[in-house]
């Protein structure tokens, strides 16, 4: 499985904030995505409102999850009826072994890949390379990332942090092409290089945006055409799908194909949708002779098991929560340390990987709620983050993962807040402690508390008022001759 580096969140996010080039790219891209989505959602497109579509989609996905064993069985039967093979992998290692076995059995030398987040989870490229099989990413962004030896920066725009100059030097190094500033030219270089790979590859690996239970149809959504190429040119097609990708009926696709591109790129529909449910028919002119669908768990069961977290599996990976998140807009995707980033990454990474390693992620949100508002399947991300924080703080996962300072603070706060007298006492102590640092009603530096010193590095902290509001209130009422509980004495 791909390495989980989420423990580095704080350090990595700091690095991202200081990376000027990255900051520039983030600003540019976010504006583009946010604007495009807003434009299309506000424009007229049919009889059903956006809100109604979201509600319906959320209900369909949730119901599918509640009956997931039934629908997995249904897909299995449908695909096998179509002449395809279906596999069930508990984790990344099993899934990799299945892919490797298919490849070896067929003497595969080159594999072309259409974008698949599950394959990123699995780290399948690494496994193939180790066995002397060449994996080639064909989504332009993924291809660039692969040449650079990096991981995707964004679910739908993996290389958005790369400039044209960087892409040009990567191509110079790997494809021996001439340097250019022309993006169109760079696309042509990539196209030509990848055409050779398409012709040479014996096996294509794709992800799945949706898997239709009743027909066994895998739906792929792409703009470049690499999804079509991967499912047309090689002799073998392998689909890697998270087990939550199912929708029950083929007619459900109409709804989801409206929601996904609008939320992701602000398009009415992507340039290509590929629907594939098995190998080519004998009379077909071309297309793969073998079709393999691999369902992958790899930690999803931890989400499914928890009734609160279950709804996270409704996610259709549109990336809208990333694009609209004030935190993601500032730090980008790499700091989250695993395959999924942004708000949904903060939600799924801890349960899918390792709660202790990823314990910072549930806290990496201001809980501003924008993610929940833009989600096409209405995942209540702030609620799920709060649920995870509860697990982190109160050791629901077997270990406490907060800092001693946070626990001390909350303990003290807890003591004070159940009793006004204790609160006033603590407040007086606070006045005493902060007085030496206060200048004109502000505290500029609080050296003794590591938790608070982060705040005062960039912001003043209000010094405690000399008198509490309750005391002021008592004094004012005494003047007005009013009873403290507000009932005026007439």
């Amino acid at each position: 499985m791909a390495e989980v580096k989420s423990a580095e969140f704080k350090k990595a996010s700091g690095r991202a904030l200081r990376d000027e080039k990255l900051q520039h790219a983030l600003e540019h891209v976010m504006e583009h995505f946010v604007g495009a989505r807003a434009n299309i959602i506000e424009s007229d497109f049919g009889d059903e409102s956006w809100e109604s579509m979201r509600t319906r989609a959320a209900a369909i996905k949730q119901s599918t999850l509640e009956h997931l064993d039934y629908y997995l069985d249904m897909v299995d039967k449908s695909v096998r009826r179509n002449g395809g093979h279906v596999y069930f992998a508990d984790d990344a290692a099993q899934a990799n072994a299945i892919v490797l076995d298919i490849a070896k059995r067929n003497g595969v030398k080159t594999v072309i890949k259409s974008k698949s987040m599950v394959s990123e989870e699995m780290g399948v490229n690494h496994i193939l390379e180790r066995e002397g099989i060449e994996p080639v990413e064909t989504d332009l962004g993924e291809y660039i990332i692969q040449l650079a030896g990096e991981t995707p920066f964004h679910i739908i725009a993996p290389a958005m942090h790369k400039t044209r100059q960087e892409v040009s030097s990567l191509f110079q190094e790997w494809l021996k092409t001439a340097p250019t500033q022309d993006i169109k030219r760079l696309c042509v270089y990539a196209r030509d290089a990848l055409r050779e790979k398409f012709a040479a590859a014996d096996m294509g690996i794709s992800g799945a945006n949706f898997v239709v239970a009743e027909t066994g149809t895998v739906c792929l959504v792409t703009n470049e055409g690499n999804g079509r190429m991967t499912t047309s040119a090689p002799r073998i097609h392998v689909v890697l799908a998270g087990m939550e990708k199912i929708v029950p009926a083929i007619e459900d696709l109409a709804l989801f194909l409206r929601l996904l591109p609008r939320s992701a790129t602000g398009q009415r529909i992507t340039s290509y949708n590929t629907f594939v449910g098995g190998p080519r028919a004998p009379s077909d002119e071309d297309g793969p002779e073998e079709f393999h669908l691999v369902f992958v768990d790899n930690g999803r069961l931890n989400l499914l098991r928890d009734e609160v977290m279950r709804e996270a599996l409704r996610c259709i990976r549109c990336g809208a929560c990333l694009n609209h998140c004030p935190v993601y807009q500032k730090i980008g995707g790499h700091a989250y340390g695993w395959v999924y980033s942004g708000p949904i990454g903060a939600v799924v990474t801890p349960p899918m990987t390792n709660m202790k390693v990823a314990r910072d992620l549930p806290y990496a949100s201001t809980l501003c709620g924008t993610c929940k508002d833009v989600c096409p399947v209405k995942i209540d991300i702030p609620r799920l983050l709060l649920h995870l924080r509860h697990k982190v703080a109160e050791g629901a996962l077997g270990e406490r993962s907060t800092t001693w300072m946070e626990r001390l603070f909350v303990g003290q706060w807890h003591g004070a807040m159940r009793n006004r007298r204790a609160l006033e006492g603590k407040a007086n102590l606070g006045r005493l402690l902060t007085r030496p640092f206060a200048r004109g009603g502000k505290v500029r530096k609080l050296p003794f508390a590591p938790m608070v010193s982060g705040w005062t590095a960039s912001r003043d902290f209000p010094a405690p008022a000399p008198k509490s509001f309750a005391r002021l209130w008592r004094e004012e009422l005494a003047q007005d001759n009013v009873h403290p509980n507000g009932m005026e004495q007439r």
């Binding site: 704080k10 996010s13 700091g14 904030l17 004030p326 935190v327 807009q329 500032k330 730090i331 549930p362 806290y363 990496a364 949100s365 201001t366 809980l367 501003c368 709620g369 924008t370 929940k372 508002d373 609620r383 709060l386 995870l388 924080r389 509860h390 697990k391 982190v392 703080a393 109160e394 907060t402 909350v410 303990g411 706060w413 807890h414 004070a416 807040m417 159940r418 009793n419 006004r420 609160l423 502000k442 938790m451 608070v452 982060g454 705040w455 590095a457 960039s458 912001r459 003043d460 902290f461 209000p462 509001f469 309750a470 209130w473 008592r474 403290p484 509980n485 507000g486 009932m487 005026e488």
Partner: protein
């Protein structure tokens, strides 16, 4: 208090009150939060109406108590009852008292920051703007992305101060570009955050709670 009393509201301040518990709840310390929230219910449940001056406190009481007490049906019922009679200050004045003119007067250009919970949990957007519009001598100048988060997020601002400040920078930029002399918000957290940074940087803009603006009568502004 001054504003509400000016409107003829019979207002009290139960002295045993402390906090709604959101700090602990957002930190994940739910049992601590529940204790404090119960104290809140003890103090307020016999009041006719509870008016809260901060959007995030109001949403804690109205929205998140449901979650906090989901396994405690008895308290849940009490929490729902208190939640129903809890209103955020601007919402209370405009939609319960029924006025957007509290007789306040001041002068200048102010801009308004939509606090996240007020806007996205409670869906309160117009009431504060109506109230600002009702202050004589004040003009509301909308800033760019007024609905964007200021980066406070409670615990977030101390756990990840660098990210928090970077988000705040955008907000400060938009406030400055609006040309307003003051930024008004209905959330004590956002205000502490915004005011803290503006003071540190010596920005010549006031950060005001809406109650502060509404309390002005033209003599002290």
């Amino acid at each position: 208090m001054k504003v509400l009393r000016r409107l003829g509201v019979d207002v009290g301040f139960p002295e045993d009150q402390t906090c709604c518990g959101q700090i602990a709840f957002n930190g994940g310390f739910r049992s601590h939060a529940a204790d404090v929230a119960k104290h809140f219910l003890d103090v307020f449940e016999n009041e006719e109406q509870v008016v809260v001056p901060s959007g995030s406190c109001a949403s804690m009481i109205k929205v998140y108590y449901r979650e906090l007490f989901e396994d405690d049906p008895e308290t849940l019922e009490r929490a729902q009852a208190v939640g129903e009679k809890t209103r955020e200050l601007s919402d209370y004045i405009v939609n319960v008292v029924g006025t957007s003119d509290v007789g306040a007067a001041s002068e200048g250009l102010v801009t308004y920051h939509d606090a996240c919970h007020l806007l996205r949990e409670l869906r309160i957007k117009e009431a504060p703007r109506d109230l600002i519009g009702g202050v004589r001598g004040i003009e509301l100048q909308e800033m760019e992305d007024s609905n964007a988060c200021c980066g406070f997020g409670g615990l977030f601002s101390v756990k990840f101060p660098e990210i928090s400040t970077a988000i705040l920078d955008e907000k400060l930029k938009n406030i400055a570009e609006s040309g307003a002399g003051a930024v008004v918000a209905n959330d004590c957290g956002c205000l502490m955050h915004i005011r803290g940074a503006m003071e540190r940087r010596g920005m010549n803009v006031r950060a005001m709670h809406i109650a502060e603006l509404l309390a002005e009568d033209g003599t002290d502004g």
